[in-house]
Symmetry: C2
Subunit: 144 residues, 2 copies
Amino acid sequence: MRLTQHTDYALRMLIHAALRAPELTTVGAVSEDFKLSLTHLNKVAQTLAETGYLHTVRGRSGGLRLALPAEKIRLGQIVLATEPDFQIAPCMSPTNAECPIYRPCVLREALDQAAQAFVRELDRWTLSDLVRHRSALLTAIGRK
Amino acid sequence: MRLTQHTDYALRMLIHAALRAPELTTVGAVSEDFKLSLTHLNKVAQTLAETGYLHTVRGRSGGLRLALPAEKIRLGQIVLATEPDFQIAPCMSPTNAECPIYRPCVLREALDQAAQAFVRELDRWTLSDLVRHRSALLTAIGRK
């Protein structure tokens, strides 16, 4: 069971933005520091701007900054915003009722409850928790 | 976030075995009733036999039956037995410490806790819960 690469990159981009605050970060800096694809990170930045997590500052000295304080950003909500869906099994898609036992089956309910438990646990963590070792993290990305 | 096809098929094979009990089921019958690949189901049956969920009866009238009562089979444990790993993000692999912030990063801990919450919730459900609409399920697979 895995999160998509999109979510993985989004979490790292938000960590980078939280570490760099109050300075701006850029997609290029995240790419360089984490050795991640610029093309993919551009899409991630777009998702995070559209969903209200990052604010884009335009211009020559522009970049990205958190649109909310780090302690207000809950991990479960990030994952819900960046995963394309939470269909733990194919039968959880509303447009996929191909399984012959679709109607009487109880498995969907169990998987849905488990997915909710996953998000609920992540919502106990904020972006602020992720950067609590700020000094060691800044050293690790060579920005100290 | 998705379970592997292997786990999805394993859950359906166990549902089939629980529905057919006390008669035996076969990989062929599961394939036919759920329209799933025989090749893949053979591998799933092997995993479920090796992990103590299915018992294989050899011979001409052989087949598969649950190795435990359905009410003793917890969904979280099935998923742990059939998923190749529970690495929600690449950094959760013990052999993958490529991320520059691997050591001071707290994200792994949050994801690990969330994965545990997912399994804990599934463990509240048994295979017996999944087949509580036995009559409707048997009708749906044309075995009534």
